[in-house]
Symmetry: C2
DNA sequence: ATTCGTCAAGAGCAGCGCTCTCGAAACAGT
DNA sequence: ACTGTTTCGAGAGCGCTGCTCTTGACGAAT
């Protein structure tokens, strides 16, 4: 615990940071499949085997990038929410949705890495979970606060949440501390999946040659999804 | 154009079929990134360079698998729709949604290949488009017929489609021959994205440790999305 | 019977992830 | 200040990948 020991650990931390930073740049240009340990090492002026002192495998490097990606979108979402008037829940929902889409459009390969198809043998390490929940927690807070303020006013005629998914909804609410009735929680979960489904469709080319006014269509979609939850606009 | 020439062409077509078939099996077990030309060749008892007589590159093989995947889900959807009573549009929507999910769960890697993040330098070849539209056309037909039968009864209080996306909706309707008003088309497009967003969330692990009753949650979701379009259940 | 197109095979290139060994440097304890 | 230990980068090397090029054999058409 002496100063000298922390000196070595500090240069180690710095090198880890440099590696992930370089890897993230490569990821942004070449995508996850094109990320090469050797190329990263080459750019850093070291030999490929040296990387293994810091990341035991290529997948571990990818895991680090995944965690960073979740944190990046989480931070963007948190800031977008913070910039809104707390009482205007509809505006907060809209701001959060737009922030996610804008980050995804700006970082398509990172988005694909965390919300696309799992890359290798797809065993998501458990330590990515907290970072993965950051955006969801913001979202849950908006819904909870809107509900507690009595501002949620969903359209009539939608089916109620069936009893068979009560346990799931309870588990989901507990994970993100969302204190709302089952019906609200179910619709919130749906809107959440719909939001990411829309972003993924746009980024992964499913809207190609169809939707051109991406922002206009996206805004209309998330407004409708927001109405589904019960936000007023 | 003699018989002998077609004989040669026939063995060629058979070999192409064998290659794609073997490749699909490898894809199903190892995923797209694990698909190796050399492994396919090895299993077929030929040398790797021989494959290049039939597929000019690995990406071309993947493209063939993508087209096959689109056709597979298209066929499943068409059959699911055909087995319903034509007048029961809500049941048809539900059947189509369930068919898509079941196919995706049964063929996760193929689903990831066509609806997940684009694999390489992601330039979707234009000749996959017709196959990609097969399921969408079925879906559009259900919506159109329900609308023409006056059976669509969407919840009140949802925002109307803004004028800014009129052109996009017109283009989308033309692509799949869906003759309905803008509001209906917009909501149908949203439900469509929401459906695939839900399936992707389940397959790509976003529901991990949260939703366990996958079928129950999925049914509730697509029922709600169906209500959004205006189907009655 | 000869010509010509098609094909499988083999060698080979550059790149990849990953492992192992080795010598140098930085650390810790005396 | 001198040990012994740990940490680290470099290098060689293994087996794999996609892909190219050349060679020789076979079959169909002239």
């Amino acid at each position: 615990m002496s100063a000298s020991r922390t000196a070595r650990e500090r240069v180690r931390a710095e090198l880890i940071h440099e590696i992930t930073e370089t890897a993230r740049r490569h990821l942004a240009t070449d995508g996850a499949t094109g990320l090469s340990l050797r190329a990263v090492a080459r750019e850093l002026g070291m030999v490929s085997s040296a990387i293994y002192r810091y990341f035991p495998s290529r997948d571990d490097l990818l895991t680090a990038l995944i965690t960073d990606g979740y944190n990046a979108v989480g931070e963007v979402v948190e800031r977008a929410d913070a910039e809104c008037r707390p009482g205007d829940h509809g505006a907060r929902w809209l701001a959060v949705c737009r922030a996610i889409r804008e980050w995804a459009v700006a970082h398509p390969h990172e988005y694909a890495l965390i919300y696309g198809s799992p890359v290798p043998g797809y065993e998501a390490p458990q330590d990515t979970v907290p970072a993965a929940l950051r955006d969801t927690i913001v979202f849950a807070r908006i819904v909870t606060e809107a509900h507690e303020a009595g501002e949620l006013d969903p359209p009539a005629g939608l089916p109620p949440a069936p009893a068979s998914i009560e346990a799931d909804l309870a588990r989901g609410r507990a994970a993100v501390t969302m204190n709302v009735p089952d019906d609200v929680a179910a619709r919130a979960l749906m809107a959440w999946a719909g939001l990411y489904g829309t972003v993924s469709f746009e980024l992964f080319g499913q809207f190609e040659t169809v939707v051109e006014n991406r922002i206009g269509y996206f805004d209309h979609t998330v407004t409708t999804l927001g109405r589904l939850i019960g936000f007023r606009f």
